[in-house]
């Protein structure tokens, strides 16, 4: 589904990603862990098409298409979803209007007719129930005045609405208490299907107790320095990131 080959990216002339290689197949959940500043969030942003970063090398294929040639909105319509570490507040744009615009633009891209108001509201209702989201949330402006937990839940709700092929969740656990973490993780697990895939970016092993990955990769200094199964996360938790750095230096 996704194939990242020797991806390099820079911001303001400073190289952050120094050659990333990663293969993601349908049905897989990949966890990317790593210390602060290792390039985790940069990788997520580059995949979603944020223009703050310049790709300086390598390629990314998504379902056979050259992802790096596509605008952020076309990537989204093709099935990429980014769960933001810091979801943006947009006063004056209601969640309903936002989601209806997004869904209809995505449907247009896929050659489907626009969803009518009744169908759309039913979809909203179903997904709210699935994600255990407070009904009032949807009538408010996008993320405006939401608590940290509400914002993260809202990201997963949007993911449920849009049903992406590949979801990239950037530190979805940051700033969440254990109850909020469980709700968000439960939501994510309900969206796991054999025909989609996820990349879960996290600093801590804790999230991976709830969203169990098939693979764990450790990002350090802009490269994937170690890959393994879920036990790698426990090992990291125990030994700390210094262990990786030391091992790498050797």
């Amino acid at each position: 589904m996704l194939s990242i080959r020797n991806l390099k990216a820079a911001i303001n002339g400073r190289e952050i990603l120094k050659g990333i290689n990663l293969e993601v197949k349908e049905g897989e959940v990949h966890a990317i862990m790593g210390p602060n500043g290792s390039g985790k969030s940069t990788l997520a942003s580059v995949l979603a098409g944020r223009d703050l970063f310049t790709v300086t090398g390598g390629e990314v294929l998504f379902e056979g298409k050259n992802l790096l040639d596509l605008s952020p909105e076309v990537r989204a319509r093709a099935g990429i979803f980014l769960g933001f570490q810091y979801p943006v507040e947009i006063p004056g744009v209601s969640m309903t209007n936002f989601m209806r615009t997004a869904i209809n633009e995505q449907r247009k891209y896929r050659g489907l007719p626009e969803m009518n108001a009744t169908e759309f509201l039913k979809l909203m209702r179903d997904k709210k129930a699935l994600m255990e989201i407070d009904s009032a949330l949807a009538s408010r402006s996008v993320n405006e005045g939401f608590s940290g937990g509400e914002k993260k839940k809202n990201e997963i709700f949007q993911m449920a609405m849009l049903e992406p092929r590949l979801a990239i969740l950037d530190e979805t656990d940051s700033g969440l208490d254990i109850d909020a973490l469980k709700t968000v993780a439960t939501g994510v697990n309900r969206l796991r299907r054999p025909d989609n895939a996820m990349i879960v970016i996290t600093h801590y092993q804790r999230l991976l107790d709830y969203i169990v990955p098939d693979f764990v990769h450790v990002l350090s200094g802009g490269r994937i320095v170690k890959s393994g199964d879920k036990t790698l996360a426990y090992e990291l938790e125990e030994k700390g990131y210094d262990w990786i750095k030391e091992e790498n230096e050797e």
């Binding site: 990537r75 947009i90 004056g92 936002f98």
Partner: protein, 458 residues
């Protein structure tokens, strides 16, 4: 120097125009207008058309719009058109009384003056001056100060007609009055109209004013509107400016509020060349409350300048001003908001904000708050921002599949939403929101008719 001599020539031309036509003006008008005319003209001779030497007119070149050759008439010209062709569909679910002014003159699609069930009287200002001289005398030219502003003086010197709305004690309610100012002429034209709104004790008025040009000509309008709000009365006033971009407009409104009255005065500007809006508010009685709001969406070489003056002359009043501009291309704008809190106006709450979004590096805005406070127990605040659309928000919307263009539109629309939300009549709010959306999408300029009333003719 050239500008100075141009202004002198211009002032002299307008003065000559007055003296040449004085007899005709006097003989065709009621004494209510005539009694003020000479003093207003005297004041105009002193002040003239305000140029940049007037502090309040620094950001807008008013003489320029008077210099282009425009036809001026002091008698009504026969302009006939089929009203129903233009306005045959109404705002759904909104019961309105439609009053038309064509080139500043009352248009007789309805009786010149009509007492509606419930007691409200609407119609022509000239007719009202004849029918109810005593009532008009109590208010006419009592709030519009022609000694400070040459444009108000000019309007007062030539005042002949306009719209008249009278809501007697305790009357009013749901029925809204829609005033459509139509500009329709085979030649470029200078238009002045003089309007009066009287809302007596405990009465309620909802007024929607739409400014439209129906000919692709250059128009210049210099209008003055006086509004009196009696004790505990309510006014909801929305003005929609949507003339062609070759037309210029100076609209000066005076809102006089007595004890416990409340007013919302909202100006939505979509199209028009150079637009100057003056809104003077006097909170004259204890506990009065006022919201003066504006939303302007301008592009190309449009220029919008809003001047507000809120005079807190009594204790326990509150005022809230909020002006939002979105400027694209080379559009320019200015905002000057003055708040005066007089010594006895204790417990005043006054708030003022001007927020701007510049879509290009060529768009420009000058914003200037002025607070003058003589009371010691007041809460006053003001703020201005100038910025671009938040790139993080644009990316967030794009990351959900929304195109960059649509994302920008959503954000611009959201920015204006705060002002539109203050329109209390829901069907009107929905319709105006839709118009704003169309304007943002650039779909409105093709429409030459009154979009509030009819979409089909567009």
């Amino acid at each position: 120097m050239e500008a100075v001599s141009e202004k002198i020539t211009l002032d002299n031309q307008l003065t000559d125009w007055y003296f040449t036509n004085r007899d005709q003006l006097m003989s065709s008008s009621n004494s209510v207008f005539n009694s003020v005319r000479p003093a207003a003209m005297e004041s105009f001779r002193k002040l003239g058309i305000p140029d940049s030497s007037f502090e309040n007119y620094k950001s807008t070149n008013i003489p320029k719009v008077f210099l282009s050759p425009l036809h001026k008439y002091i008698e009504q010209r026969k302009i006939l058109f089929a009203v129903e062709d233009l306005f045959h569909c109404d705002i759904p679910e909104l019961d309105t009384e439609l009053v038309l002014l064509v080139n500043g003159w009352f248009y007789e699609n309805r009786p010149r003056l009509q007492v509606l069930p419930g007691g409200m009287i609407i119609g022509s200002m000239a007719e009202a001056a004849k029918e109810y001289p005593d009532l008009i005398k109590q208010h006419y030219s009592k709030y519009a100060d022609y000694e400070k502003d040459g444009l108000v003086a000019l309007n007062t010197a030539f005042a002949q007609d306009g719209t008249f709305i009278y809501v007697p004690k305790g009357a009013g309610g749901d029925r809204a009055v829609q005033i459509v100012n139509v500009l329709l002429s085979p030649e470029d034209l200078f238009v002045q109209h003089r309007n009066l709104v009287i809302v007596e004790d405990n009465a309620t008025a909802r007024v929607v004013v739409c400014d439209h040009s129906l000919s692709a000509r250059h128009f210049l309008t210099n209008s003055v509107t006086e509004i009196y709000l009696g004790p505990n009365s309510h006014l909801d006033y929305v003005k929609l400016q949507n003339e062609n971009d070759n037309s210029n407009q100076i609209a000066t409104s005076f809102v006089h509020q007595e004890r416990g009255s409340d007013a919302v005065f909202n100006t939505i500007t979509l199209h028009g060349g150079l637009i100057r809006n003056n809104v003077y508010t006097r909170l004259n009685g204890e506990g009065a409350s006022n919201q003066t709001l504006g939303l302007s969406l301008v592009d190309e070489t449009q220029h919008i300048d809003s001047y507000t003056f809120v005079d807190h002359a009594a204790p326990n009043c509150n005022s809230h001003q909020n002006f939002k501009y979105i400027l694209d291309d080379q559009a320019t704008a200015a905002f000057t908001g003055r708040i005066l809190v007089r010594q006895n106006a204790q417990k005043t709450i006054a708030y003022q904000a001007n927020n701007n979004i510049l879509m290009t590096s060529e768009a420009r805005v000058n914003t200037k708050p002025q607070l003058e406070i003589y009371a010691d127990d007041v809460k006053c605040s003001h703020g201005a921002t100038v910025g671009q659309l938040d790139p993080n928000a644009i990316f967030y919307l794009q990351s959900r599949g929304i195109s960059k263009r649509e994302a920008r539109l959503l954000l611009m629309y959201a920015f204006g939403h705060e002002i539109l939300n203050k329109i209390s009549v829901e069907p009107l709010r929905v319709r105006l929101s839709d118009l704003v959306d169309k304007r943002l999408r650039g779909e409105l300029s093709r429409c030459n008719s009154c979009p509030l009333h009819c979409q089909e003719t567009c």
